[in-house]
Subunit: 386 residues, 2 copies
Amino acid sequence: MRDVSIIGIGQTAVGEHWERSLRHLAGDAVLAAMADAGVERADALYVGNMLSGLLTGQEHLGALVADFVGLRGIEAIKVEAACGSGAAALRQGYAAVAGGLHDLVIVCGVEKMTDTVNAETTTGLVMAADADYESVHGLTFVAINALLMRRYMHEYGVAHEDFAPFAVNAHQNAVGNPNAMFRRPITAQQFARARMIADPINLLDSSGIGDGAAAVVLAPSGMVGKGQRGRAVRIRASSMATDAVAVHDRRDPLWLSAAEASAFKAYRQAGVGPRDIDLFEVHDAFTIMSVLSLEASGFAERGKGTWLAQTGEITRQGRIPICTMGGLKARGHPVGATGVYQVVEVTQQLRGQAGDNQVPDARLGMAQNIGGSGATVVTHILEAGG
Amino acid sequence: MRDVSIIGIGQTAVGEHWERSLRHLAGDAVLAAMADAGVERADALYVGNMLSGLLTGQEHLGALVADFVGLRGIEAIKVEAACGSGAAALRQGYAAVAGGLHDLVIVCGVEKMTDTVNAETTTGLVMAADADYESVHGLTFVAINALLMRRYMHEYGVAHEDFAPFAVNAHQNAVGNPNAMFRRPITAQQFARARMIADPINLLDSSGIGDGAAAVVLAPSGMVGKGQRGRAVRIRASSMATDAVAVHDRRDPLWLSAAEASAFKAYRQAGVGPRDIDLFEVHDAFTIMSVLSLEASGFAERGKGTWLAQTGEITRQGRIPICTMGGLKARGHPVGATGVYQVVEVTQQLRGQAGDNQVPDARLGMAQNIGGSGATVVTHILEAGG
C-alpha cells in the first residue's frame, strides 16, 4: 500500500454558531483545507458525523457537502462511529489513498449541535451507547462515564481532585488556540467546586459540546499541491478496533481493550512505541476517558493515569503532552468532528504552526478518537515531513 | 489493486419483523453469509444503514453488530448515503480488500422500520432530501418523486398507465422469492386503480418499506473459504457518483447525471457496455426511478424508459431483465439494506441459485443503488465465477 500524507488542513472555531448551518460549517473547513493544500479538486469526500439526522433532519451529508464546496459529482459518503466518526472517516480516506482507489481525498468532520430542531443533544449522544440494554434504562451518556469514574476511584483509591490536572491542562492550552471554545484558564480549586453533573462527574470533568468542522486533504506521500501552503505530514499509522458497546458486556470496564488494540496496532505499523510519541491528542470527553486512554495506550500503568497528570507529565513541558490545543474539554467537542480536529491539531504541531502552544521539536504525534465509552477506538500516528 | 470476489451471501426475509431488533436482523444476515462463505472470522465489518439513529435511538452499529455476531474487536463502521447506504458500505468493503487493507471483510445492510420508538418513517426518509431547501417546505420524499414523475409525463407525453409494467414485473418476480415482502402478482388494472399517495404516484408505483438485512463476505479473488458453499462471484466494477441533493439545483431534473456517471465508470472499469449486462437490479423505489435509472445507464433512450417496459424487455425473457427477485417494489425496501439485497440477488442469479426466477445463462449482472432522488448513485457489476 502507498504512504499517505496530509497536505492541507482547515477548521472552524468550535462554538455556538447560530448563524451557520451544517453545510456552511463543513464548507468553511473543507474550503480552508483545499486552499491550504493548494488544490481545487478532489476524487472523493468522506464526512464524519454522528448526529445530523436526529438533530437537524439531514442525512446524506456526503453528496450535500460535496456539492456545496463545488465538488458536485465526486464520490462522497458519511461515516458514523459515534464520537469516533471523525477519525473513522479519516481512516476511510486513508484506505482509499493507501490502497490506490483515489489520489486526492478530502476528509471532513462536522457536527451542528446548536439551533437544532428535532431533539435534545442528550438524546443524540446516548445513541453511542446500547439502546436496548443501556439507554432503555434511562442512562445518559454522561451517566455511563460517571459509573466508570466512580468505579475507577473505588478500585484504585483515587480521589476526584486527582483528575483536576486534566481539566486544568486542557483549559491552559485552549488559551492559545483561537479556534477553542473555552479560552480561559481554570484552577484546581475551580475544578473542585464545579457544579455536579452526574456524580462524580462535574462540569469541569466534562468536555463542552459545540458546533464545528475540521477537514484534511490527503494525497500519496510525495505528491504536492500547486501552491500548497504548509508542509505535508505523513500518516505513519492508521488503525481501528472495537469492543462491546454496552459497558457491562466488557471483560473489564476499566480497561479500554479497543484503545489498547488500536494503539498497539498503530505502534506496530509505525514501528514505534509510546516513548517515541512527542504529543498525544487524547479523547478527553470526560477526565476519566483521558485516564483510561493513557493507560490502555501504554503511557501509564493501570491505575496510574491520574499520577501521570499530577506529576505534570501531560503538560507541554512534560513527558507526553496531551490536548495541546485544548482537547475536547476546552477546544470543544463537536462530536462527529472531533477526530478530525485532533488530527488537524497534531498536524499544526508537526508543522511547527502551533504558535504559543508549540511542543518543541515535535516529530511524532498521535491522535486517538473514541466512540461511545470505548467501543470504537481509532488511532493515527503522524510524522513531521510528508 | 486486487480483484475482489463475493464468497458468501446471507439475507433475512423483508417484512414487519416485530419480534426482531436491529441487531438480530443484522446478525441473522451476517451469520448466514459467514456460514455460506465457510468462514468464522473477518478483518472488518462495514454496515450500511440510514435510519437507526432517528427511528430506534441506536447509532454506533459497526461495533454493535460486530460484537453481536461474535467478532468483537474487529474494525467496524456504519456507512450512510441515504437510500444508497447499502451499496456505499459495499464499496468501502470492496476498497478495503482491493487496496490490500484487509483480506476478509463483511458488508451488511440493515434497516429496522417496524416497532420504532422515536419518529415516523416519513420523517426519516426525507432526511435523504435537502433539509434546508426541500423538506423545510413540507415536501415528503414521495412528493419529490411525484414532482419528477409528473414532469416526466408532461415532458415526454407518457401516461401513468405506461409505468404499470414495472410494478407488474416486480410483483411477478417476487412470487418466486421466499424473502420478498409482497409475493403476489398484480395486474395493470390493479395498478391503474391503486390508491393515490402523492399524485401521480400511487400505492403500486411505490416500493414497500420494511425490516430486513442482507450481507456479503468479500475476499481477494482466488481465496476460497473452507467449506464455502456457493461459487464465488467476482466484482468486476464498483463505482460511485453524486449530484446535488436538492432536485431544483440539478441541471436537468429528469436526467440522473450521477447514475450516468456511476454506470459508465463501472462499464469502463469492467470493460463492458450496457449490451453485455444480463440482468440489472434497478433501484425501483418508485416506478419513475426505474425509468430514469434505465435511461441514464444506457438501457433506453431519453424519454423511452417506459417503452422498454411496455415491450416486455425488462422481464426475465426480455433484453434486460430487471428486479429479478422482486426489486424494491415487491421484495421490499428496507432502506439502508437495499443496496446489499440487490447484490445478494445478483449473486444468486450468477451462481444459478435463483430458482424459478433464474435468468438463463446469466454471466454479468449489474446492481444500482440510489440515494435520495439521485444524489448518490453506486453501481456494481458482478461476473459469474470468482
